[in-house]
Amino acid sequence: MERSRILGSLAFAWLLLTLAMIVFATRLGLVMAPPDALQGNVGRIFYYHVPHSMLSLVWPYLNLAASIGFLYWRRRDPLKALSADALAIASAEVTLVYATICLTTGMLWGRVQWGIWWTWDARLTSMLLLWLLYVSYMMLRKFSSTGQTQTLAAVLSIFAAIDVPIVYKSIDWWRTQHPSPVFFSKDPDAGVDKSMMPAFVANIIAWAMWGILLIAIRYALERRRQALEQDAALKAIEDSLEFTR
């Protein structure tokens, strides 16, 4: 009980810090940073779009690590496997939230800058594929009634993780509609103006902190559900033993 109270206080403090950081980062993006030289104010969409896009390529690796952990422990240590599975579902849901935001904010930007909502560009298509893989992952977890659901989901998360480097490198490998890389680019002309960097960095930190908080709370919720399911299973066994006596 003492441990859960400490964790609750820690989560609350993290929430306050994160909300303050989000407000600060949003203010930097909307007020402090100058309008983009080419795009004007609509370029401010990037302060939300880019951090969410970057993080939607980070959370799948957490999902992958947890899924591999589940596959490793499922026969060796079922309790650890349950923990890993809770982390896998938490990170998968948060990936889906971030990927959804990445796609929709990108479409809202594209409609203004390109005049179209969507194009079958390599980056957009590979990102849509990642989103669909995580939708499949969630549907599998929700509707599959076999005893192997967690194992099947863990294998699917490995396929999803394979798509992540393809999404990341797609704008290097195929030069199509999507803007070229802004960060970590080999092109000397690419990059962000110094006056825009604080807003970008603050938003990346803020939305990473928010994602960590969401994953932690969702993980705790899944652990609580697992504990209830275990209690219900134990009770059913005890009842059946009493019935046979």
């Binding site: 104010n41 939300y48 935001i101």
Partner: protein, 47 residues
Amino acid sequence: MNLSWMFGPSMEQRHLLYVYVLVWVVQGGYAAWVVWQWFRTKQEPRP
């Protein structure tokens, strides 16, 4: 903090506003769903 320039009829202004509102709604909505599930999932004291 004057943000009146965001609220206008042009597509640029509308889409910028939609993006910022959409992110807060989606992220806030998911967080609210998780918290609601947390309180709905009652933890019974173990014997």
